[in-house]
Amino acid sequence: MSMKKRIRDPKKIIDRIDDLPTLPRTVLKITELVNDPKSSAKDLARVITDDQILTARLLKLVNSSFYGLPQRISTVTGAIVLIGFDAIRNLLLTTSVFDLFADRNRKRQQKQEKFWDHSLGCAVGAKVIGNYLRHDNIEELFVAGLLHDIGKIVEMMFQPDEFSKVVAAISKENILMITAENKILGYSHAEIGKLLAEKWNLPAKLIQIIAHHHQPDVAGSFAMEAAIVHLADIFCRALNMGFGGDNKIPPLDRYAWESLKIQTSAIESIMETMRDEYGDIRSFIS
């Protein structure tokens, strides 16, 4: 390797990627409507029915075995009333993000699927931990878990050469991906993810969680949520859900653990619920 170390600015890297995916307008509109207490199921249905793919997807979900209803739901309004605003926003954001990064390259596709499994595991984990802590916005935690490693996907798709160097270092030295990234690239997926989230105009909370899921204490007013995603990341790696890019469990951040005040005796039941819900959700997303 060459001796002169090139310091690269992740911001420049993000700017250079012209074809960086953008969130569909429908999803942004839906997020807005869900956050507005004055909007009704009819308002939401109007936006969804404008998009045939979203409509089909939503009806497929409500009629899937996940909800286990004996009769078929054939209208979008019916679906909204049944599964709720937040769940709909979640579903649409989830599947849109999956689509955006869908890769036609077969080899990469397999790798990517494992990454997504890891993200999905972390999303379910964040939701289950949030539930245990009676957090008031569980749906948001789910999305945060899902997007926490989005920077890794960007690196994989748009910086394949750098990414393969990182992968080589991980397998040679058996280290965490973030350690390898900092060593080789001088920045990590957390920073790339943050920049993408900013570009997408995601809420400040999500940006902070993505940026600081490895050091929750610096996430400012969203330190609690970052700590939840941090712990969920550890849980889903322990449970073998997907592949986060390396074969190591990141160390537990003391601050995160102490601030969450989770009973040690609750760990097992949280992880068990996580495993069950992961199995269910995976079957209808893929």
């Binding site: 286990g68 004996p70 469990i249 537990l252 760990i267 097992e268 992880m271 495993r275």
Partner: protein, 123 residues
């Protein structure tokens, strides 16, 4: 026919009576072989107990043990991943919980598989 609490319900059991939610909407018909997913759905609809076909001791045989060799490998793999963090007592707890849960999911012992096959031919 026996009444089984939702927490004791296992995949492969056969419903003796249909299951309805609190509004009386049919969730699953009598005679259906229960899957893991069905159990989750029952839980999410707040179903407390259901009636299944069979005798009590038949159900007790449901607790199966995994093959010893497979179990050791799974534990070793998990330990390798936790190698640098096990000085933290909380991590030890997480490790133990993961170990227990992963072992539950392992392929079951051949002998017991034979025994349980008649009840579990839904695959």
């Amino acid at each position: 026919m026996i009444c089984v609490n939702i927490v004791d319900l296992k995949p492969g059991m056969v419903l003796a009576q249909s299951v309805q939610n609190h509004q009386g909407v049919l969730l699953l018909d009598a005679g259906t072989k229960i899957t893991k997913k069905n159990i989750r759905i029952f839980k999410s609809w707040g179903v407390i107990e259901v009636s299944v076909k069979g005798e009590l001791d038949e159900l007790k045989a449901a607790g199966e043990t995994p093959v010893a060799g497979v179990k050791d490998t799974a534990e070793m793999e998990l330990k390798a991943r936790f190698s640098n963090v096990l000085d933290d007592p909380v991590m030890v707890e997480i490790f133990n919980a993961a170990c227990k849960l992963l072992i539950k999911d392992l392929p079951k012992n051949e002998h017991e598989k034979e025994n349980s096959r008649p009840k579990k031919n839904y695959r």
